[in-house]
């Protein structure tokens, strides 16, 4: 099953060597590697045996898989995805029931210590019944599948950070993969959904170097999540000039001004949308006129309205201010009247000094 190399498979699909090298060049630059690395990348991808991948789908919407599969076709990214040995993916595989589960067990056994596990969706801890596959809880399936894994790739914000299922009040007790897995390398590829090129880029990095890419503090590959949307946004010059769209259809919006005031979360969001774009580099959310939602960041569902500017307080501050005014008036009045009383007492006890008080004779009397 894993005998053919990736390049042989790509050739069978009609991908020319020129097309393949072009892809390797793009990928090398994408991974922030020097141009001298292109032959290394090409060679590694050419000779790579298809790695076994087990894809586990837990509390998810299949949007991440859709992002990858339906992105645009045919592309080399898509073909690479086709030609990893995807041994288990319950949405895509033909087998069902026992046969499907058997495929997963077989892949673990055959590729022990070498296979990759891709997880999309969060894992419910409140009650395993919220999400089961073949009668097995998500947690049990994750633990069993991870025993011989080389690394785990958490695809999508739900598996990377808990995402939508974890949003307040988190009824299912949803958690991320990284909060459960401590003894294996975990690569977070967040996004709702992640950019397809980023998903395949991470796989390509693993194929090229046999190791996981450098990660940031939130477990994301720095090559794709190293810069904020804001810093790479083509609307950034308008931010710096102080030119902002006030509504979604005003003159500013039509002129492509900055969307900060309309709630764009670009300044706090680390992702590659601004550079890689979507749908064959056609466009991306900010280019289509809507602010960034911050979907590749933890807690993005709980970060207040998507349409509130980032600098706006998020809590019920009007109520807090109301209570504060009432408390202030009561305490202020109390302090004020205490002071008045002190003043009145002092005035009452005050005795006038007369010239007699200074008389020496008075003391002598």
């Amino acid at each position: 099953m894993n005998e053919q190399t990736l390049f042989e498979l790509l050739q069978q699909q009609g991908v020319s060597r020129r097309g393949f090298l072009k892809y390797c060049t793009a990928l090398t630059s994408l991974m922030a590697l020097p141009a001298s690395m292109i032959p290394t990348v090409a060679h590694a991808l050419e000779s790579a045996r298809r790695p076994s991948v087990i894809w586990l789908s837990f509390q998810e919407c299949t949007g991440c898989a859709e992002s990858l599969l339906r992105s645009h076709s045919p592309t080399i990214e898509g073909l690479i995805f086709d030609h990893i040995s995807l041994d288990y993916q319950h949405t895509l595989q033909a087998a069902a029931g026992d046969a499907a589960e058997h495929a997963r067990e077989q892949a673990i056994k055959d590729n022990y210590g070498k296979y990759l596990v891709v997880v999309d969706g969060s894992i419910p801890l409140a009650d395993p019944g919220y999400s089961t596959i073949a009668g097995m809880s998500n947690l049990d399936m994750l633990n069993e599948t991870l025993t011989g894994a080389a690394a785990v790739i958490a695809v999508g914000t739900c598996s990377a950070y808990g995402g939508l299922p974890q949003a307040d009040p988190n009824p299912t007790g949803a958690v991320s993969v990284s909060s459960l897995v401590k003894d294996k390398p975990v690569i977070n590829v967040p996004g709702c959904p992640p950019i397809p090129t980023v998903i395949t880029g991470v796989l390509a990095h693993y194929l090229t170097f046999g190791s996981i890419p450098e990660l940031d503090s939130l477990g994301r590959p720095k090559v794709f999540y190293g810069q904020s949307i804001h810093d790479r946004c083509y609307r950034r010059p308008f931010y710096d000039k102080g030119l902002f769209a006030e509504t979604f259809d005003d003159e500013g919006a039509k002129k492509g001004w900055c969307l900060y005031r309309l709630g764009c979360k670009g300044p706090m969001t680390y992702n590659a949308c601004a550079t890689l774009k979507w749908n064959q580099q056609t466009s991306w959310p900010v280019e289509s006129g809507h602010g960034c939602l911050g979907c590749s960041e933890p807690d993005f569902w709980d970060a207040g309205s998507f349409y509130n500017a980032l600098s706006i307080p998020d809590g019920d501050y009007t109520r807090a201010a109301g209570y504060a005014v009432a408390t202030g008036v009561v305490l202020g009045a109390a302090v004020g009247f205490t002071n008045q009383k002190t003043k009145a007492t002092a005035a009452a006890q005050h005795t006038n000094v007369t010239v007699d008080d200074f008389s020496l004779n008075k003391k002598n009397k």
Binding site: M268, E297, G315, G332
Partner: protein, 223 residues
């Protein structure tokens, strides 16, 4: 950081609970201080007024912002650096678009912003002015002798929002939500300290100037 699971969590806290606490303490403290002043009252003036109170009082609020030549001769450094600091501080506070958004959301007032490069430059000048003030305080023997811990505390809580704001704007701390969270937290510290220190002058100056102007006006004297 055990308290927060990640930087975003921290940012959300500073924008949520921490802001509510800070604004609460700021309002309670400020109202107590202002009521304390007004409820103390003044003795009734039985003399015949020679002029009006309101006009001269309001005029005095504005006119006392102008440089007084006597003060300038005595302390030119404090006057010049003081002006530079206040002007730059207000440019940063009132004309940076994210700040305008905050004011619009909380108070409903709105005005146009200015290009962020001007805000950035003003921040640097304001910080330099504050550092110069601190240096002056530490090197001037009389001023140093008169300084209490409160003076240094006030300096620190004023300086921190500028520093953290500069760091956040230039994204000098990674990840950005941590930088922005620290900036918001430093402003909340300023709000909490405000009513109980001489920072309160930002409110009481209006009362004091009005009272001086009104008193003079009533006596028919130009203030």
């Amino acid at each position: 950081m055990e308290l927060f699971s990640n930087a975003n969590d921290f940012l959300l806290w500073t924008r949520g609970d921490a802001f509510n606490i800070a604004i609460g303490i700021f309002i309670v403290g400020s109202i107590i201080r202002v009521l304390e002043i007004f409820l103390l009252g003044r003795k009734h003036d039985f003399s015949e007024p020679r002029g009006t109170e309101w006009g001269p009082g309001l005029k005095n609020i504005i006119s006392r912002s102008a440089v007084d030549s006597g003060t300038f001769k005595r302390a030119p450094f404090v006057v010049v650096v003081g002006y530079i600091w206040h002007i730059c501080f207000f440019i940063v506070l009132l004309f940076f678009v994210p700040h305008i958004e905050l004011i619009h959301a909380t108070l409903g007032l709105k005005w146009p912003g200015i290009p962020s490069q001007f805000v950035d430059a003003s921040t640097v000048i304001a910080m330099a002015a504050l550092l110069a003030m601190l240096w002056h305080r530490l090197t001037h023997p009389v001023l140093k002798f008169l300084s209490t811990y409160e003076d240094y505390l006030v300096w620190l809580v004023t300086f921190l929002p500028l520093l953290t704001g500069y760091i956040a704007f230039h994204r000098m701390i990674d990840p950005y939500p941590m930088a922005l969270g620290l900036h918001i937290l430093s402003v909340e510290l300023l709000l909490i300290v405000f009513p109980f220190t001489k920072l309160m002058h930002a409110i009481t100056l209006f009362i004091a100037r009005w009272y001086t102007g009104a008193m003079m006006g009533r006596k028919g004297i130009e203030s």
